[in-house]
């Protein structure tokens, strides 16, 4: 018998799970759609938030697509791609993370019937790519440049972009307030590409209108020793010394040991140690600095020494804060107190310690370089401030983007409708299968206005039809019509100042198409068994899916 049997070919390790073919493609599409559905409700000004517990029990309440995707902890290989595009959109543009995921899911959803009907996925991919190129060209064409305007006008326009982003967030009620703040902050740091120059500090308590912008640096009072309260708390035009050394009485060398054979020398050793620290302190004082900041500890001795000489000091300042002070005040962080030349000292107009809510803050304002800004956020709860910070981050990114590529497109789904119309028209000119595919791509783009309506509780079909009618007008005057979130009708987004930077849309379309094409091009998944023996329920579930996913070649692996 044994000789009769075909030797079994074992290619893969035991427990490996593969699935392939059309069924696999469809199951991937289903998974992606499911993830898209989670995010669906967060889109737009009437979008809702998600409350997510993570493994450690901490909780995030967010409306930001990228944040939610990250916290969902997705393991499905195809769905993971969505997480990646959301992340890439976040790091590239900073906003539109929900849009990109929704678009990708929608593209795939539209592709599903074709796949079921047996269309080769490569055909789909090719058409989708063409469509995306056309769409991006159209977006570019429709974009309106804000270049060449005066600074004031430009500021106003940027604020509009920021307000559009913020309107979907928790702080939407105060969007104008924050939009101006964000624009001021971004303008303050200039063209420098260092985002970390904008600091966001969170102070629980107060209401969000109490948030304020410091044209300089602000950070929380650091841990202080006795004597700190006796230091002056306000200076005008002080010199600022930035250090990265400890000003503490301590052993200079860790592993050194002093051996004394003559007890009378004892005092000299003690004195020597004291002299070292006094020497350092003297040098700080000599430099003429009135504010001494150090990344490392400033001990009680130094605190009292400075207090005696009317100098303000703060030890254990966080590195990023110190760097910001350096950038703002124009100083350099010193690692030694020797040879402090005046050039390394920074300065600012006003230094003050101020009470903000329950905390005291060190505030440096009116810095000469003006290259930094700090937003101090106030809010009723920690979660609230966290979310506000994320929202402001989005707004900051948007404004920065808009400053660089200064073109904007009308939001509120207007641009999506217009591109969709254009693609539909274009598809009519194509003979062949591609016509269908591009048409479905165009249909998928309509998901944005549709979802905006759904989230606001409007009749999506009704609004969409109105929009289609407007956009179909030959004159082109309806091109900037989008969903009017307040009345449930349609309105000219451009005239209502619902603006987005063009780059957001371009990047979103690009990334979403890429992701969709990537998923469409996969026809086999090979899943290696978990490296550890801990094959929990998850693994068992995965096996189940693998079996369901149809394996064409009937290769036995057991």
């Amino acid at each position: 018998m044994a000789s009769m049997m075909q030797p079994q070919i074992i290619l893969l390790k035991e427990g490996t799970d593969t699935s392939q073919g059309k069924a696999q493609l469809l199951s991937n599409i289903n998974a992606v759609t499911a993830v898209g559905d989670v995010l669906r409700t967060t889109l737009g000004p009437r979008g809702m938030d998600k409350l997510i517990h993570d493994d450690k029990g901490s909780v995030t309440i967010s409306n930001d697509g990228a944040t939610i995707m990250k916290l969902l902890d997705i393991v499905h290989p195809a769905a993971k791609i969505l997480v990646d595009i959301a992340k890439s959109q976040d790091s590239e543009v900073g906003d539109g993370t929900t849009t990109v995921v929704l678009l990708a899911a929608e593209f795939l959803k539209e592709a599903k019937p074709f796949v079921e009907d047996g269309v080769h996925s490569q055909n789909l991919i090719r058409s989708y790519r063409t469509a995306s190129t056309l769409a991006i060209e159209k977006v570019k064409e429709l974009a309106v440049s804000i270049e060449g305007k005066s600074v004031e006008e430009k500021k106003g326009m940027l604020a509009k972009c920021a307000a559009t982003t913020l309107s979907s967030k928790l702080i939407g009620g105060e969007k104008e307030f924050f939009a101006t703040m964000v624009v001021d902050a971004v303008m303050a740091i200039g063209d420098d590409d260092r985002l970390n120059l904008i600091g966001i500090k969170k102070v629980p308590g107060g209401n969000m209108r109490d948030s304020f912008l410091v044209d300089g640096v602000a950070f929380k009072k650091t841990f202080s020793y006795a004597g700190f309260e006796q230091q002056p708390k306000k200076f005008l035009n002080p010199k600022i010394l930035l250090l990265n050394i400890e000003l503490e009485l301590k052993s200079e060398k860790e592993n050194a040991e002093i051996r004394l054979s003559d007890p009378s020398q004892y005092q000299s050793i003690v004195d020597a140690e004291w002299n070292i620290i006094y020497d350092k302190l003297d040098k700080c004082v000599e430099s003429g600095a009135k504010v001494v900041l150090s990344r490392l500890a400033i001990g009680d001795l130094a605190t009292q020494y400075f207090a005696d000489r009317d100098i303000f000091c703060a030890g254990r300042v966080a590195e990023e804060d110190l760097n910001r002070v350096a950038a703002a005040a124009g100083g350099t962080v010193q690692t030694s107190v020797n040879n402090i030349i005046p050039e390394v000292l920074g300065t600012c107009e006003i230094f003050e310690e101020k009470q903000v809510g329950g905390e005291r803050f060190n505030i440096f304002s009116g810095c000469p370089s003006g290259r930094t800004a700090t937003i101090v956020l106030r809010g009723g709860a920690d979660q609230f401030i966290e979310e506000a910070e994320r929202s402001l981050h989005d707004a900051i990114m948007i404004v920065r983007r808009a400053v660089k590529n200064s073109t904007v497109v009308p939001g509120g789904g207007a641009i999506d409708m217009e591109v969709s119309k254009y693609l539909r028209q274009h598809s009519r000119t194509i003979a062949g299968k591609s016509q269908l595919f591009i048409n479905s791509y165009a249909k998928a783009l309509e998901v944005i206005p549709r979802q905006l309506c759904d989230n606001a509780g409007f009749d999506a079909t009704d609004v969409l039809n109105k929009l289609r009618q407007k956009h179909a007008m030959q004159s082109g005057e309806g091109a900037s019509y989008g969903v009017d979130i307040n009345t449930g009708g349609i309105a000219d987004s451009y005239a209502n100042f619902v603006w987005e930077p063009a780059v957001v849309k371009i990047n979103a379309i690009n990334a979403a198409t890429e992701a969709a094409c990537l998923i469409l091009s996969v026809d086999e998944t090979v899943k290696n068994p978990k490296s550890e023996s801990a094959q929990g329920d998850a693994a068992a579930g995965a096996m189940g899916r693998g079996r369901g996913g149809g394996r064409g070649r009937g290769m036995r692996r057991r």
């Binding site: 199951s27 289903n30 998974a31 759609t33 499911a34 993830v35 559905d37 989670v38 409700t41 000004p45 009437r46 809702m48 998600k50 409350l51 997510i52 517990h53 909780v59 409306n63 902890d73 997705i74 393991v75 499905h76 928790l170 629980p204 308590g205 209401n207 020793y225 006795a226 309260e229 006796q230 009485l249 060398k253 050194a256 040991e257 002093i258 051996r259 004394l260 054979s261 009378s264 004892y266 005092q267 003690v270 020597a272 140690e273 009680d300 001795l301 009292q304 207090a307 009470q355 329950g358 009723g380 709860a381 609230f384 979310e387 509780g457 579930g541 189940g544 899916r545 369901g548 996913g549």
Partner: protein, 535 residues
């Protein structure tokens, strides 16, 4: 929790440990969240107002807290639910910013949530409710500004401040002597206030408590109180016109920080070492004497030998004084903290008119009073009371009163308490509602109704007929167009809050409304709760 199924009805594994997660979404999530928020508010509701009840909370270690302060109750309750935690943070931020009205803000938020639930049942989109609330809160805050009154006070005429502090204290357990406590609080704040900059650093007011005596014995000390006694029992108990050396170095032979070893191989060397040590003590004490110090306050301990020497040289000393207290002493006496004996100079000494040690009752416990200081910018409120819980609660009440006084110094505007401000706002918001087209109008009306819940709770807690009383007051306000009528909680016979002298700070009230609206918006905006099932 399964997000999707394949064609055979098996779930996809999309999330890590998917089956251990639960998901609540849509209207269910909102309802669950609102219920949690309301539950928290319900607990606090009975604590509101002068006739509000206290809560007894037992901590995990068996320690008991009895309090009426909203922020403290919520803090100690250790809630687990996330939405409930938001409510806790809500009252905490009111505490940070204003220091008073921590119960009111939660009751307000609870009422807003309750109203929101009703609107949700009507099918109004949660975000539109939240937006309506926001519009309404703006109307209410503006109205408060309008009905607020400014009153003048200065260092000599602080009666209005006392009245306002009394309103705060009247809801606390200490209301028996609210008058004296309010005076203490106001005097303390005025003593440390910088009236020009309108800034009060509450850190300069130290609140000390000691079990024993009566609440009436609570006093304000223009100086510092240290829970320490002289290092040697035979040292003088009272020093007049004291020159104080404030040291952060121990009366011990100095030690190098670097690892060191003294090799002693002969008897002579040992003798020298011993002599040297003695000499150190001698020098230290002499140094203090030389600069003219009549009292030494030290952050660290002394060697017994040093202690003896100090006694001998007639130099009273206090040891193991904490860093914060040391700093306060330095500020109060105008002295400098000296880290080293070599640095002692006469200028660095602090000066106090009187330093005395006082013992209490029959116990051996003593405390050190440092009074008549050179710089009276630091004061101490010394609370006496029958038991520890009482003292703790008094501390919290005093804190509230201090915050109120501080807020008044920052902003002189007041509104009338006893629910009068809320009723006035409710009327204003209700009237404004009709101007807004759209669904928000309903939310604005709901907001007005929610505002009524504070006076309602006040009336309820005072044993009055809530609906009857409220409607009577409301019509009175509307008829006479005067926003002073509130709930007569103490049954004085008039509900004119001007006559009753029930004031609250304007910023406190505004903050309450804004914060409550903010948190309610956050809760309403959540439509999806994804959690591990054990939560």
């Amino acid at each position: 929790m399964a997000l999707a199924f394949d064609e055979f009805g098996r779930p996809f594994i999309i999330l890590r440990e998917q089956d251990q997660k639960t998901r609540l979404r849509g209207i269910d999530a909102q309802k669950a969240n609102i219920a949690a928020g309301k539950a928290v508010a319900r607990i606090l509701r009975s604590s509101l107002g002068p006739k509000g009840m206290d809560k007894m909370l037992q901590g995990p270690d068996g320690d008991v807290t009895i309090t009426n302060d909203g922020a403290t109750i919520l803090e100690q309750m250790d809630v687990d639910n996330q939405i409930a935690k938001l409510m806790v943070e809500l009252s905490r931020s009111q505490d940070y910013e204003i220091g008073d009205g921590t119960t009111g803000v939660v009751v307000m938020a609870g009422a807003l949530l309750e109203q929101a639930e009703r609107q949700l049942d009507r099918g109004i989109h949660p975000i539109r409710i939240a937006e309506g609330y926001e519009m309404a809160s703006r109307v209410a805050v503006e109205h408060l500004e309008r009905i607020s009154q400014k009153f003048e006070f200065d260092v000599n005429n602080y009666e209005p401040l006392v009245q306002t502090c009394m309103t705060t204290l009247s809801s606390k357990i200490v209301n028996r002597c609210k008058r004296s406590l309010a005076e203490i609080a106001v005097k303390a704040v005025l003593a440390v206030a910088d009236l020009e900059r309108r800034d009060v650093n509450l850190d300069l007011i130290k609140v000390e408590g000691k079990v024993g005596g009566n609440l009436e014995d609570t006093e304000l000390i223009y100086g510092i109180l240290v829970d320490k006694d002289m290092s040697h029992p035979q040292m003088p108990k009272q020093i007049e016109d004291a020159h104080i050396a404030i040291l952060t170095c121990p009366f011990e032979p100095p030690k190098p920080k670097t690892k060191h070893k003294v090799d002693i191989d002969t008897v002579e060397k040992f003798e020298t070492l011993r002599k040297q040590e003695q000499q150190y003590f001698d020098e230290m004490v002499q140094k203090c004497k030389d600069v003219g110090a009549t009292l030494v306050i030290c952050q660290w301990g002394f060697d017994d030998e040093a202690n003896h020497l100090l006694m001998h040289r007639n130099l009273p000393a206090v040891r193991w004084v904490g860093g914060v207290e040391l700093e306060l002493i330095a500020i109060a006496t105008g002295g400098r903290i000296v880290p080293r004996f070599q640095e002692l100079t006469p200028e660095k000494l602090g000066k106090a008119g009187m330093v005395r040690e006082k013992s209490f009752g029959t116990t051996k416990e003593r405390m050190l009073y440092i009074e008549h200081c050179a710089n009276s910018k630091a004061v101490t409120i010394f609370i006496r009371g029958g038991n520890k819980m009482m003292i703790e609660e008094t501390k919290r009440s005093i804190h509230d009163a201090l915050c109120v006084a501080r807020n008044l110094i920052r902003n002189k505007s007041i509104v009338f308490g006893g629910g009068a401000a809320e009723i006035a706002c409710s009327l204003a918001v209700d009237a404004a509602a009709d101007k807004y087209p759209g669904v928000e109008q309903y939310a604005i009306r709901a907001f007005a109704e929610a505002l009524d819940s504070v006076p309602m709770a006040l009336a309820e807690n005072s044993g009055l007929q809530p609906i009857e009383t409220l409607s009577a007051v409301k019509s009175q306000q509307l008829k006479e167009n005067i926003p002073f009528y509130g709930i007569d909680c103490n049954d004085v016979g008039t509900n004119d809050m001007r006559e009753q002298n029930v004031f609250e700070t304007l910023i406190g009230k505004q903050q309450q409304i804004l914060l409550a609206t903010q948190v309610v918006k956050m809760i309403l905006k959540i439509d999806d709760v994804i959690s591990n099932s054990e939560y």
